[in-house]
Symmetry: C2
Subunit: 199 residues, 2 copies
């Protein structure tokens, strides 16, 4: 063992604990929201001490925001992959909408976006996540158009922003309706985004 191996090992263990907390927190928050989950619940699910939530994230709220942002960015990656497997604008847009709405992180992200109104110190992470959603979404649209030779009626960045706005709105309506998602509003989002595609 070199004198440096111990700090390295500690850092790796720390990263592992941090990831374990995030992995455990994601599904708990998705199912029960911020108020329905305690630090003790998360620690129990992650196999850590409750104090480690504070040690690694600062607060339960900060872990909530981090889990929400990580979750929605993962959903965005899955959305892009789902789009790649389709052949027509209609099946492409349908796959984007259905894959996005299937993510359990969406409502956690909606709740996180509201939370940071009164927790300004946590707002930068949510803002940065919106910016990444839009930037990655724009890049994905540009690449997809180039690859397929499809055309749209607006700027690719506007497709990406409009897509995520409508998806978050449908997720919110689904929360109120108690359904997995509102099928009619999902269909409407497909039509809205699809109408960008010529002809």
């Amino acid at each position: 063992m070199t004198p440096f191996s111990h700090p390295r090992a500690t850092r790796a263990a720390g990263q592992q604990t941090r990831r374990a907390l995030l992995d455990a927190a994601g599904p708990l928050f998705a199912a029960r929201g911020l108020a329905g989950v305690s630090q003790a619940d998360i620690a129990a699910a992650a196999g850590t001490f409750p104090s480690q939530v504070t040690y690694y994230f600062g607060s339960k709220e900060a872990l909530f925001v981090e889990a929400a942002c990580r979750g929605v960015l993962r959903a965005a990656t899955e959305v892009e992959r789902a789009g790649d497997r389709t052949r027509t604008p209609r099946t492409y847009v349908r796959a984007l909408v259905d894959t996005a709405l299937a993510s359990p992180a969406l409502l956690t992200f909606v709740e996180a976006s509201l939370l940071v109104r009164r927790r300004q110190e946590l707002a930068p992470r949510v803002r940065e996540t919106f910016a990444r959603l839009h930037a990655e979404g724009e890049r994905a649209v540009v690449e997809n158009l180039a690859k397929r030779g499809w055309q749209i009626r607006t700027h690719p960045g506007e497709e990406a922003r409009g897509f995520w706005a409508a998806i978050l709105g449908v997720a919110l309506e689904s929360a109120a309706s108690g359904e997995a998602f509102s099928a009619a509003s999902a269909d409407a989002t497909v039509q809205l985004v699809l109408s960008l595609y010529a002809p």
Copy 2:
């Protein structure tokens, strides 16, 4: 005075108190959210006793949901009126989006939609409000198309649903950004809805 005048007067006074509580609660909740406003705050602003919140609404949360739903339905009426004053599809859609996003009730309604996930007894009012937003929106689109002779690429009901989904999403992003609203995402929503309009 007839024997009936006293009950009638009492009922009228009750309706006035109820309305005073709603009128006072709307701006307070819009500015500070559910957790940031107490029954005593609302009662002080309305000139009533704190116990009257419970008497007329059952709980602060029920008053919150009622204020949110009333507020967003009023916004919908204003959106329709703003659309009437325009002449082209572009100015029409722009007016709808800007008027909707200017409503302080939007974020209260977003928060109410999340709240009812864990307050199932309050969910019917939010669901009914989504249904009215969509039904009134569809009627407004149908009337507008008939009056102007404009055509759209999808069903009017889908324009209405897609519009409100995207509006709620933009309102949410604005909450996180701390701005009045996210101008780029508002523009994207305009483009998305406008792309429904032929040619």
